[in-house]
């Protein structure tokens, strides 16, 4: 049953803060960095007003913020933090430790270009630098989705089959600072019932005893977190993480469905959000807020009879390669859009991984091209999308030679 909701004028950052307010994590530790600051600023207001019972830890850096998450989550707490750009890079070292210690930490990232030159505006380079850290990564499209996904994130990460940290990405400024009418649950209890009042802490067998996988002093056998494992066991622990990652796609879909039940909103199958892909000859693959602009333009092209579809990748890690194979097989032209620095490689990460997935198809798309766009907050307006779509139509009609990679919106 869809629960009662109210509309609020919220930007993406406030939407995440409101989601936190409704989930009420046990611990939030954070350090401010644009464009993420509003998340923790708003949330610290909720804490100061006594509206949540969360322990708010003010720390001196992002490295400390994520380290505080390690301690909190290892103690069995539900823990959340948020950052962006260089802050995320400062967390880099600890991100691997969080995932290897199987701590379901929720991290909000307001995607921002990485220095230098110093820039505070949107691109996905910060998140892409962490793509192999063993985290689940979801890219949202607007403030509403940021609210919804933040709530879902706790449920996905804390699933006892998974126990992996999760990063919820929202485009800096384009989502983080852009206000829209966001539907939030009227009664926070709906959210509490959805994610659970407290974090479920799994039990493990240790020396014949059943113990909580946490630093609980009441454990009959004390549990040590973060010891060393050498060439004799390190590989086995990595293998466990890989296995947990494999279970994520199904859980993301299930949580997406369950969330639909209470909210009336769902995002494709949770992993990818296709728009008119089935009958399309040309498909644009993209992540984040740009998908909205592209659908807006594609709608006009559809009216003119151009069979164009937009496939938004929502879950980047684990990479939904099976979905891409299923949806992109046999297409005439697939154009993959990366909002990421890509020096010295054939294409951006979204392109390369899409390409790898498609290689194994018998009926692979005839042309797969890569566009790099929007670096450092460079605008990606409808006029530019039109230019790109026109080029894709020419490639489809054989009037223009296909290419590997092009840059959109840079002066050359």
């Amino acid at each position: 049953m869809v629960a009662e909701q109210v509309e609020m004028l919220l930007n993406g950052d406030f939407a995440v803060a409101w989601a936190w307010k409704h989930v009420e994590p046990d611990v939030v530790a954070a350090f401010p960095i644009t464009p993420q600051t509003l998340i923790v600023e708003k949330f610290s207001e909720f804490v100061a007003n006594g509206e949540v019972r969360t322990q708010f830890v003010s720390v001196e850096s992002e490295h400390s913020a994520i380290s505080a998450m390690v301690g909190a989550a290892a103690a069995g707490a539900r823990a959340a933090t948020a950052t962006a750009a260089n802050g995320l890079q400062l967390m880099h070292e600890i991100l691997y430790i969080v995932s290897s210690m199987r701590l379901p930490v929720m991290l909000g990232v307001a995607n921002r270009a990485v220095s230098g030159p110093i820039n505070i505006h949107c691109d996905h380079t910060d998140a892409m630098g962490q793509r192999d850290a063993g985290w689940i990564m979801i890219f949202t499209e607007d403030a509403q989705e940021a609210y919804d996904t933040t709530i879902q994130a706790f449920k996905i990460a804390e699933n006892p089959e998974i126990l992996l940290p999760i990063m919820v990405n929202l485009d800096g400024f384009l989502i983080s600072h852009t206000a829209m009418n966001v539907k939030v649950f009227k009664d926070p209890k709906v959210v509490k019932d959805f994610v659970g009042e407290t974090r479920p802490v799994p039990k493990i067998k240790l020396m014949g005893e059943e113990v909580e996988l946490s630093l609980n002093p009441r454990n009959p056998i004390p549990v040590t977190f973060g010891p060393f494992a050498y060439y004799d066991y390190y590989f086995e622990f990595k293998r466990q993480q890989i296995e947990a990652m494999k279970k994520v796609p199904d859980v993301v879909e299930r949580v997406n469905d369950e969330y639909y039940e209470i909210s009336g909103r769902k995002y494709g199958n949770g992993r990818v959000v296709p728009w008119n892909v089935d009958d399309a000859d040309i498909v644009a693959v993209v992540m984040g807020s740009a998908a909205g602009t592209m659908r807006y333009v594609a709608r006009k092209y559809r009216e003119r009879g151009v069979k164009i579809g937009i496939l938004r990748v929502r879950m980047f890690r684990p990479f939904p390669w099976r979905d891409l194979q299923e949806l992109l097989r046999g297409k005439e032209v697939v154009a993959v859009f990366d909002r990421t620095q890509d020096q010295g490689v054939m294409g951006g990460p979204l392109f390369l991984e899409t390409l790898a997935a498609l290689y194994y198809l018998d009926d692979r798309p005839r042309n797969v091209v890569n566009y790099v766009f929007g670096l450092g907050g460079r605008d990606f307006p409808p006029e530019l999308v039109e230019k790109v779509f026109d080029e894709l139509i020419r490639i489809k009609d054989g009037k223009e030679k296909p290419f590997v990679k092009k840059y959109v919106g840079v002066r050359e």
Partner: protein
């Protein structure tokens, strides 16, 4: 680190938590030099016992517990750092090349 009972990935607890005591992890096989005590020179001053970072010096006490009787190296855990030989005032500990 004997290879006798190495378990598979799905046979060990997740998150890298240890499922046995650290004393079962015999760190002594890292050693390239082993300390050998010359019991003739040793005065049982216990400098080595105090300075050993690995608690790898074993002291045998007299039955009434009043005096140390004999000092030994626990080669299961001695990593061969040589601190004991360095601090020994009687030069009673000699570092010998490990031949394994």
């Amino acid at each position: 680190m004997s290879g006798a009972e190495l378990r598979k990935w799905n046979e060990v607890p997740i998150a890298g938590v240890p499922w046995k005591f650290s004393t079962e992890y015999k760190t002594g096989d890292w050693r390239s030099e082993r300390p050998v005590i010359d019991h003739g020179k040793c005065t049982k001053c216990l400098f080595c016992y105090i300075y050993c970072p690995e608690m790898a010096i074993k002291v045998h006490w007299t039955s009434d517990g009043s005096k140390p009787e004999k000092v030994e190296v626990d080669y299961n855990f001695c990593k061969g750092c040589g601190i004991c030989a360095n601090v020994c005032p009687m030069k009673a500990i000699n570092m010998e090349l490990e031949r394994r």
